[in-house]
């Protein structure tokens, strides 16, 4: 019956697979990982493909966590060679890798990315502190009447938080929880503002998960809207609505600098200089990880990495700066290059 045809089709698929599987020696580098690093890695990959005799690497945008999961699944050409990440690899992921035989991983820190809070140029220019960001967007905030207790976020207008802020409804669009940008925003900006309250900070020592739920929960009553992974959509909304703010990566601000402006945080605006020297607080480092066992098996990995870490690419005047990468300071770059040349594996102690 139908069952038979299903069996037949599965058998057919199986036979195709059986024919194909042994012949899968690969000559194209496979890269997976973060959608934040994707725009930078693709530029390098394309240049690499055009300027060398190696084929252009294949890049999948799977998110940092998804990428590391694929990367750590094992050694062999069916697994990716490099994974990009918009955060550092976690200890648990190193352990997962090791349990699947992926022992030696080389870490490459490629630079930083700033996260901006921006609005239309027709709207007011604002200066926020991390504490104000937390108060505007957290699910529960310390009681404005004082005392050490939490209440559901009562703030409706920016001016409710601080009279220096505009007398307008709070309306902020940001990425969903699956996004690395959201993770970073929550960890740096929200938690940064949250721990300004000493008594909340004190909770961290007693009950870490309670501390996390206080500091990391975004409000769900309207003023914060999850706008999907597509930052272009947020930018479009900002153009139409002068009162709206959006949270996204620095490269989108740069690309649309004619239409939108970024809020300064503690008086510091996001520029390549302030992000690189960490004066702008909401920034994170970007990485990629190389599977050392694949170097020499899949051709071109070292050459690709060399292209990525060349001054012409990630240097102060390199082409990655044109697409929005904030380069590492030169000293860090030199250290990373040295590491990459020797393929020095990451040790658990470093994390």
């Amino acid at each position: 019956m139908k069952l038979k045809s299903v069996v037949a089709s599965v058998a057919l698929a199986g036979s195709i697979a059986a024919v194909s599987a042994p012949a899968m020696a690969r000559d194209t580098i496979n890269i997976v990982g973060s959608s934040t690093v994707y725009p930078f890695a693709t530029v390098v990959a394309e240049r690499f493909g055009r300027n060398t005799d190696f084929p252009t690497p294949k890049l999948e945008s799977t998110g940092s966590g998804g990428g590391l999961k694929l990367f750590c699944a094992g050694i062999g050409t069916q697994h990716p060679d490099i994974t990009n990440a918009s955060r550092r690899i976690k200890k648990s992921e190193v352990e997962l890798c090791a349990s699947n035989g992926v022992e030696d991983i080389t870490e490459v820190k490629i630079g930083s990315d700033g996260i901006v809070i921006a609005n239309s140029k027709n709207g007011p220019a604002v200066d926020l502190s991390l504490k104000q960001i937390f108060l505007a967007l957290a699910k529960e905030v310390p009681d404005p009447k004082g005392g050490e207790k939490l209440v559901a976020n009562p703030y409706e207008k920016w001016s409710d938080i601080d009279s220096s802020l505009p007398n307008e409804e709070i309306f902020v669009m940001g990425p969903p929880p699956t996004s690395g940008t959201r993770d970073a925003f929550v960890e740096i900006a929200m938690e940064g503002g949250c721990k300004k309250y000493d008594w909340i900070k004190a909770i961290k020592k007693q009950d870490k998960s309670k501390y996390k739920s206080i500091c990391h929960s975004m409000r769900e009553d309207g003023p914060f809207v999850e706008a999907g992974e597509n930052d272009n959509l947020i930018v479009q909304r900002l153009e139409q609505d002068d009162h709206a703010f959006g949270i996204f990566g620095y490269s989108f601000l740069m690309e649309n600098s004619g239409k939108i402006q970024a809020a300064t945080i503690n008086g510091v605006g996001p520029t390549p200089e302030t992000i690189a020297d960490e004066a702008y607080p909401v920034a994170r480092s970007l990485y990629f990880y190389i599977k050392n066992a694949h170097v020499g098996v899949v051709p071109g990995i070292q050459e690709y990495v060399a292209e990525f870490t060349s001054e012409g690419a990630w240097g102060d005047n390199g082409y990655l700066v044109d697409v929005g990468l904030i380069p590492n300071p030169r000293k860090t770059r030199m250290e990373v290059v040295k590491r990459v040349k020797n393929l020095t594996p990451l040790t658990a102690a470093e994390l």
Binding site: K2, V10, G14, G49, R50, T56, L59, Q78, N232, G258
Partner: protein
């Protein structure tokens, strides 16, 4: 009497109400159609309005003097020298012919940013192929930088922000006036794979990827679907098991497509160890997804073949198999094909299941087989729509237009087949 009159009146009055009701009912229908058409119109105007500029490329034509000294290149046959040579230099000096005042470091940098990033590669390729051209002057046409292209095409439009400095804008204006910077039909779009630079990006890679994927899908889904339908309709005994299978096929047609992606990931990639991002796996997954559609429509087509034909064939002494193969299936073929084409059109626009099997990827090279990495049209559109560069906005819309063209063609083919081949009894 009074009773009768009043009854006639009641009828007459109610008639009015009933006519009014009918008119209103028709109006509702027309309004519904108007809303549907209007939204379609808005969608199309938006897409075409945004996308038509995607079919236009902006080029710059320069007399490039291939001066060996300026490029640090003595012999274009020497590979080492080629890799160390500066191919940007002749392009910059060609631009300086027009703007001799641009000599400072910053000016040169701005000048360099007028021309696309891969202009230097063009010079290098030319010299690699024809080393004897070293020292001559060649007229070459390059793509301009993305920002220049946006400026030339969209200056004054609110939807785009111009990222050229005032000096650059002046330069570009002057070059446009002199006819050095021109717009032309965007052949690059139809002859290349993806690129991170909008002006270099093309849709051909995605079209070829879609084609390979669809070939696998139809090669598997059509025979399997038709065989299943024929068996279920003609041979299967009427029992609980058949009913159960039937219900499940109908259910399968309603399963969200991402589930098929999960299945593909687990079975084809996990169990059989097939590579990620290849059209074979994509095709298999989409075949599973379209199977129910094909089975259901094929069964309907078989059912519509009148029993008299079967009986006549049987009366002439044909075996069951002969009846099916010589009469029922050929007569049901147009209906089966229509169903398959509609199923394929659906599969062509699918992205969700492909996400999980790695076909949402940046792939520059045009796929050359069923086992080379590929992406498909809707995925390409998605990737462009989520890129930061402004030039990709128009490319995404242009890609949508191409996808829609394919869809409309396929649907028109289905209608034509039905009209042309279907027989009425």
């Amino acid at each position: 009497m009074t009773d009768q009159r009043s009854q006639a009146e009641i009828v007459r009055e109610s008639l009015k109400v009933r006519y009014r009701k009918e008119r209103r009912f028709r109006l509702y229908g027309m309004a519904a159609i108007a809303v549907a058409l209007l939204s379609l119109l808005i969608l199309f105007t938006d897409i075409v309005g945004k996308g038509y500029t995607g079919f236009i490329k902006t080029t710059i034509t320069l007399d490039v003097s291939l001066d060996g000294e300026a490029m640090y290149l003595e012999d274009a046959r020497d590979k080492d020298q080629l890799s160390m040579a500066d191919f940007q230099a002749p392009i910059i000096s060609a631009l300086q012919e027009y703007f001799p005042e641009a000599t400072g470091r910053k000016d040169v940098r701005e000048l360099k940013r007028l021309v696309g990033s891969y202009a230097g590669n063009r010079v290098r390729n030319l010299l690699t192929e024809q080393p004897e051209l070293l020292g001559t002057t060649q007229t070459m046409t390059f793509l301009v930088h993305d920002t220049v292209s946006v400026y030339v095409k969209h200056a004054g439009s609110d939807a785009y922000s111009i990222r050229l400095s005032e000096q650059q804008q002046r330069w570009v204006d002057e070059l446009v006036e002199k006819g050095v910077v021109e717009t032309a039909f965007n052949d690059v779009f139809f002859s290349r794979g993806d690129s991170r630079e909008p002006s270099n990006a093309g849709v051909l890679g995605a079209i070829v990827g879609s084609l390979f994927t669809m070939v696998v899908t139809i090669a598997i889904a059509f025979p399997v679907g038709v065989a299943a339908a024929v068996y279920l309709e003609e041979f299967a005994p009427q029992n609980k098991l058949t009913d159960f299978i039937e219900v499940n096929i109908n259910n399968l047609a309603a399963v969200p497509s991402i589930i098929f992606g999960l299945l593909g990931l687990a079975v084809f990639i996990g169990l059989f160890g097939m590579p990620r991002s290849v059209p074979v796996v994509g095709g298999l997954v989409l075949a599973l997804m379209t199977l129910p559609t094909i089975i259901i429509s094929s069964r309907a087509a078989i059912k519509s073949v009148p029993p008299s034909i079967r009986e006549a064939a049987e009366g002439m002494g044909a075996s069951k198999m002969q009846v099916v193969l010589h009469h029922v299936v050929p007569l049901a073929m147009p209906g089966m094909m229509t169903g398959s084409i509609i199923g394929m059109a659906q599969a062509l626009g699918e992205t969700a299941p492909l996400l999980l099997i790695g076909m949402v990827a940046f792939i520059v090279e045009i796929p050359d087989g069923f086992f080379s990495s590929a992406t498909v049209l809707p995925v390409q559109i998605y990737l462009w729509a989520s890129s930061a560069e402004q030039g990709f906005v128009e490319l995404a819309s242009a890609g949508i237009m191409i996808l829609l063209t394919f869809m409309i063609t396929m649907n028109a083919m289905a209608i034509w087949l039905r009209k042309r081949l279907e027989r009425r009894w």
